[in-house]
């Protein structure tokens, strides 16, 4: 065999496809953060911008499991809600400082994701989706039935964060611009973390499992354990979105745990494109923008958004961002 001649390392240019798409991938985190910096000035309201941040984080985290590991969970509202409730309860009922409450929300969401993931990742296909749905509904009913903790049907109130102290500065958290940029720091961290995970050896392992579970197992990957880790990481990032939501609204609606919220996360992710890093964020942006605009015109805005969603799934299955990447940028 003439191994020496051909197997010499290729120049970097021959290995990696160059071009705009490669640049977009390589600098996806700084570019995303740049987009987040200007976002509030492009949208009709700062409150909408904060919502985009929150659901953007949730969907990017969700997509770690859905788009990259290939597992369709219908239960991620549980982690979103858990993050929100734990943060709210910690602040409102225990007087915990906001930053600790955020950490507790994230940790609590992680534990819940580990438990639900542990039970659901043993099953496959439609059974996996159904188990996540059922377990998340169980969590929903726990929230409903423990009103002394969660406020039950009325949701959780009474934990307004007015001021945030960062590096010795008191920041007025009621000011929408301040609020946006404080929460943006969390969103930027989440995006950086997810990008990091996708670039890592673990990121390659989950892609292998999505591509061909049997082959991945034959290659030596512990499929169950890898899925559980992906599930837990994904749920943890959704919990971060939940704590951001709690800080933003100073309120946790019971609906944040409802399966309709899980469904909305799936829809946003598909709309933006599950095959790309930033697609789910774009999906959240477009979905919430449509809700914002159409709900001014008509109370039946969900029909319009639903129709657009169906059109996308049928004709542009790569979603908005995925289609853009494959057709326009190349």
């Amino acid at each position: 065999m003439n191994s020496s001649s051909v197997a010499a390392p290729l120049p970097a240019a021959a290995r990696k496809p160059a071009g705009l798409k490669a640049a977009l991938t390589k600098y996806r985190v700084p570019l995303s953060i740049l987009a987040l910096c200007i976002l509030p000035w492009l949208l009709p309201s700062k409150a909408l911008a904060v919502n985009v941040l929150i659901y953007g984080v949730v969907c990017v985290g969700y997509n770690l499991l859905f788009g990259y590991t290939g597992l369709l969970s219908f239960g991620h509202a549980a982690f979103f809600g858990a993050g929100a409730y734990i943060t709210g309860i910690a602040i409102g009922q225990f007087g915990v400082p906001w930053y600790l409450a955020v950490l507790m929300g994230i940790a609590g969401g992680a534990v819940l994701a580990f438990i639900i993931g542990g039970m659901s990742t043993r099953t496959r296909g439609i059974y996996f989706s159904m188990v996540t749905l059922a377990l998340a509904q169980l969590v929903y009913y726990v929230a409903l039935q423990t009103p002394s903790w969660t406020g039950g049907e009325n949701g959780l109130r009474g934990f307004t964060v007015n001021k945030i102290n960062l590096f010795g500065f008191d920041i007025n958290f009621l000011d929408p611009v301040n609020k946006y940029y404080v929460l943006m720091v969390f969103a930027a961290l989440a995006l950086w973390l997810v990008s990091r995970i996708l670039n890592s050896p673990f990121g390659a392992a989950i892609e292998a499992i999505r591509e061909n579970e049997r082959r991945a197992r034959t290659c030596g990957y512990d499929v169950e354990r890898t899925k559980l880790l992906a599930f837990t990481l994904s749920g943890t990032i959704c919990a971060l979105g939940g704590t951001m939501s709690a800080l933003h609204l100073a309120f946790v609606p019971l609906e944040s745990m409802h399966y309709l919220t899980s469904g909305m996360i799936v829809m946003m992710t598909l709309l933006g494109g599950a095959s790309s890093f930033f697609g789910p964020f774009i999906g959240a942006l477009v979905f919430l923008l449509m809700e914002d605009v159409f709900s001014l015109w008509t109370s039946h805005w969900q029909i319009i958004v639903g129709s657009i969603f169906v059109l996308f799934v049928l004709f542009l299955p790569k979603g908005i961002w995925g289609t853009f990447l494959s057709r326009v940028v190349r």
């Binding site: 673990f202 030596g220 499929v223």
Partner: protein, 251 residues
């Protein structure tokens, strides 16, 4: 004589009431190519599935390098030193040819690391390229695996299996669905591989097996009915009886 690499003792496999393997006892020593033949449904793939951890046998034991494999989970087999290919091509269709092999190599090195960049493992890249080269696919490294010709996909799967540096390589009909040209290439590849490791081969193409194998086992209705050199097998009356009248086209 060397110690057996793999020792199979009284292995049986039942699917419900159906007996797919029964009382299979044999040993494989480090060395070249052993082929396993038998009519369709004889239990050849089932036997491989037992040896590679896809199935755990209903009865009996399998020892690899003296260690009982009972309770070993499937993904651990490759780390122990047993790799395999499947009868129906089993690759990562939407990954590039290079990534197919690289991610297989990575399994021996890093599986849960979420912090480093996967491209930092230069050595994996180089090893993947070397494996691709050894199966003649280096020129296709940047192509998406599903766009390769059938024979190339089969070769890719062998590269994936080889990358772990297995002591024992199980190949389930590597030439399945191949024309004469592709088969010739595959035989040449197998001959090169056989020089360096122990190979168990399931095949239907009789001429190929006779030329390639040092030893042949014959399975029939889940039982071993013959074991010997190609010459022994060709002249074995029982084997002739099993194959007689069955038009496999490889007499």
């Amino acid at each position: 004589m060397s110690a057996p690499l793999l020792a199979v003792e009284n292995v049986g496999m039942k699917f419900g009431g159906f007996v797919a393997l029964q009382g299979v006892t044999t040993e494989f020593r480090p060395g070249r190519v052993t082929s396993i033949i038998g009519p369709n449904g004889a239990g050849k793939s089932t036997f491989f599935n037992v040896l590679s951890g896809v199935l755990s046998p209903s009865t009996g034991t399998v020892r690899f390098k003296g260690q009982d494999l009972k309770g070993t989970r499937q993904h651990e087999f490759v780390h122990r030193g047993i790799a395999r290919s499947y009868q129906i091509t089993n690759i990562f269709p939407d990954l590039s040819v290079h990534e197919n092999v690289r991610v297989a190599a990575q399994a021996g090195r890093s599986r849960y690391n979420i912090w480093t960049n996967r491209n930092r493992f230069d050595e994996l890249d180089a090893r993947a390229d070397k494996a691709l080269e050894s199966v003649g696919l280096f020129a296709k490294r940047n192509e998406t695996a599903k766009f390769l010709a059938h024979g190339q996909q089969r070769a890719l799967e062998i590269a994936i299996a080889l990358i772990s540096g297995p002591e024992l390589l199980l190949l389930d009909e590597p030439t399945a669905g191949m024309g004469p040209e592709e088969t010739k290439d595959m035989v040449a590849l197998l001959e090169r591989l056989a020089a360096e490791r122990t190979i168990l081969l399931v095949e239907h193409k009789m001429k190929m097996i006779l030329g390639l194998s040092d030893r042949i086992l014959v399975l029939h209705h889940g039982q071993l009915i013959a074991d010997g050199t190609p010459h022994d097998i060709q002249t074995d009356p029982e084997v002739r009886r099993v194959y007689l009248g069955q038009n496999h086209g490889y007499a």
